[in-house]
């Protein structure tokens, strides 16, 4: 039975700006089920990143409602939103955004650390995950000593290690060369397939769009199409 991990209802984000307010997101209503591998595509300025930020509780909607699982997050305080991000959402950023003062292992285990998971369990889980995504032996390296692809894999590990309900990835392959991007995509597919991690990407990358099981097209802040593409697709439908 499908389980809804994210639901939005008539989501709007308007940035007050002179001479005219910018409507970055206009009436987006979405539903993503557990285990989906969803890509959100669209030209620059179409509102992809803003939608991800809204779903991740990094920014608040001007109008509309968002549910993560059973919880409506629109009315949560900053502190409650931080708690929600820690427990239910993983982020992968285009620019990796690893913490430079921490090693690869420490970066990956960071959310577990914040949750108070004992060190032994944290390290075991990180090592297992590193083995799965090809980061074996790199545990003690600082981000500056890792390649771009390795850094992004650590970022993915950090996003999924806490088994969040949803991983939001903002153009994760944009800063990687073709081969590295493809390898990263494989890692994420494997995590989706083997561990049931739910992914929502924003992307320009045709390879990512091809491999997504569901493709949402945003244009000018609105959903233009929402299409199921693969066997693992959830609630896809044409608009």
């Amino acid at each position: 039975m499908n389980r809804t991990v994210v639901r939005t209802e008539d989501l709007w984000k308007v940035y007050p700006q002179e001479p005219k307010p910018v409507e970055a997101v206009r009436g987006v209503s979405l539903e993503i089920q557990a285990g989906e591998f969803v890509a959100m595509a669209g030209p620059s300025g179409s509102g992809k990143t803003t939608v991800l930020n809204l779903l991740g509780g990094l920014t608040r909607p001007t109008r509309g409602r968002i549910w993560i699982g059973e919880d409506e997050i629109t009315a949560l305080s900053d502190r409650e939103l931080a708690r929600l991000r820690l427990e239910s959402i993983g982020f992968v950023f285009q620019a990796f955004n690893l913490l430079p003062v921490l090693t690869a292992l420490e970066n990956a285990e960071f959310t577990l650390l914040l949750r108070g998971v004992p060190a032994e369990e944290r390290h075991r889980r990180v090592r297992e995950l590193f083995a799965l995504i090809g980061l074996d032996g790199l545990e003690d390296r600082k981000p500056g000593k890792l390649s771009g692809g390795q850094q992004q894999r650590v970022a993915v590990a950090r996003a999924v290690i806490g088994e969040p309900a949803l991983v939001l990835a903002d153009e994760p392959t944009a800063n990687l060369d073709t081969a590295t991007g493809a390898a990263l995509l494989e890692v994420m597919e494997r995590l989706n397939h083997e561990n049931g991690v739910t992914f929502l990407f924003s992307t320009h990358d045709p390879r990512v769009m091809e491999r997504a099981h569901r493709l949402i097209h945003l244009v000018d802040g609105s959903v233009e199409s929402d299409v199921a593409q693969g066997v693992r697709g959830g609630v896809g439908h044409d608009r």
Binding site: G56, L58, D78, R79, R83, R85, F91, N97, L99, G116
Partner: protein, 420 residues
């Protein structure tokens, strides 16, 4: 590991990563604190010298007098013999308790010193030579003849300038005339036992020491005194000594005056110098505060993206602010320890024998008529060192608050994209 400990760990690593920036800031703070401790200890030492020198020429750290004498200087306002005995007993008791180092019973009167050549108005001070000697250190100022001793019944110890004006030499006789306690003009023949030079015109031209017993008989006030001057074992004992004397003298009618009241012009000078120091210290504090504020704030702005990521990962805005605050506090603590050590070392290594400023002055260093030693010996006062450290701590904490608030108010969605 608790979340707070995690923040502490992140803060320490943040400081370590920005080693150069952290060291520069810490150095500014440490240097500020070292200068503060050094300048305060020098100022404290200088003030101690001023006070010591000033009160020895005046009424001591604490004076026991009859009410009204300070203003009138008249023999009419004198301590009666029973009051003198009570005061001397109280002083002896406090000497036993370790509060008082020296004391001198004095009978002072304004009079006229006359010789065959001239007549000069003078202050005549009847003293017990062996008590007055160590207190006013007048014995050390002798330039001719010698200081008084116990049996010098008719001996007089006079300033060189006075001797010159009266045409006196060692062994010369002259007459002192003053109004006695009975209201009659009384004369007393004395002989020059020795001459002193202090460098203070007022003393060298106008002060005559004579034995207390002789003065009491001459002025028809045997056993009486106008002042019992007391030097405490340290200037920090003045208040306690004054209070203890007041308690012991109770209802005798004698007045106890700490030096701040008996020598107000000296107190004003010390206070004035204090205000100068406050301004200097205020500027120093402001510079240190700006250095910390700048370093911590720059660090926040520089690491905006990092703080945005931390919030995206689940750190609350408050925790992000705490992280920045903890960094500032660490920086302050580190600098405080280094600065304190450097301050002590600087003062101790270079100035333990005093800071010799004589090269700045062609002549004697004279302030308000007092000749001061140009060698300033620093003095550490635990309370002042604690105060300096406390101020630096407060500044460090205060200067970290704004960057912490700034960090806690970052928009995480914007911060994660920051390209600074």
């Amino acid at each position: 590991m608790s979340r707070f400990l995690l923040l502490v760990r992140l803060a320490l690593r943040g400081l370590r990563r920005e080693t150069r920036r952290s060291l520069l800031t810490a150095s500014a703070m440490a240097l500020g604190l070292a200068l503060l401790i050094f300048s305060r200890s020098i100022a404290e030492g200088a003030h101690e010298d001023w006070i010591d020198l000033g009160v020895r020429y005046a009424f001591g750290h604490v004076a026991v007098q009859a009410p009204g004498f300070l203003a009138s200087g008249s023999l009419d306002q004198r301590l009666a013999p029973d009051q003198v005995r009570a005061a001397e007993a109280a002083v002896a008791e406090l000497r036993e308790r370790g509060l008082i180092a020296e004391s001198s019973t004095r009978l002072t009167v304004s009079g006229l010193a006359s010789s065959a050549e001239s007549a000069v108005p003078v202050q005549v001070m009847g003293v017990v030579p062996e008590a007055e000697g160590p207190l006013s250190r007048m014995a050390d100022k002798s330039v001719r003849g010698s200081y008084l001793v116990e049996n010098d019944r008719l001996g007089a110890y006079v300033g060189t300038a006075l001797a010159e004006r009266l045409g006196l030499d060692e062994g010369s006789r002259f007459v002192l005339t003053a109004q006695g306690a009975d209201g009659q003009i009384q004369g007393q023949l004395v002989r020059v036992k020795g001459m002193f030079r202090t460098g203070l015109t007022e003393l060298d031209e106008g002060l005559v020491y004579m034995p207390l017993g002789t003065a009491g008989d001459w002025l028809t006030a045997p056993g009486a005194a106008t002042t019992i001057a007391v030097m405490t074992t340290g200037s920090e004992q003045v208040a306690a000594t004054a209070m203890a004397l007041e308690d012991l003298l109770g209802d005798t009618g004698a007045l106890v005056l700490p030096w701040q009241e008996s020598t107000p012009e000296l107190y004003a000078m010390v206070r004035l110098d204090d205000y100068g120091d406050y301004i200097f210290h205020g500027l120093l504090f402001a510079i240190v505060a700006l250095a910390i504020l700048n370093a911590v704030l720059m660090s926040v702005l520089h690491r905006k993206r990092e703080f945005g990521v931390l919030q995206a990962l689940g750190l609350s805005p408050g925790e992000t602010g705490t992280l920045v605050f903890v960094e500032g506090v660490f920086l302050t603590t580190l600098s405080g320890i280094v600065g304190m050590a450097a301050g002590f070392a600087l003062t101790w290594l270079f100035f333990r024998d005093g800071l010799d400023l004589s090269f700045l002055f062609d002549q004697e260093l004279t302030i308000s008529g007092l000749v001061f030693d140009p060698v300033m010996v620093p003095k550490f006062t635990l309370s002042h060192v604690a105060q300096s450290v406390g101020f630096i701590a407060v500044i460090g904490v205060a200067a970290s608050i704004y960057p912490a608030i700034h960090a806690s108010h970052l928009d995480p969605a914007e911060a994660v994209k920051w390209e600074g």
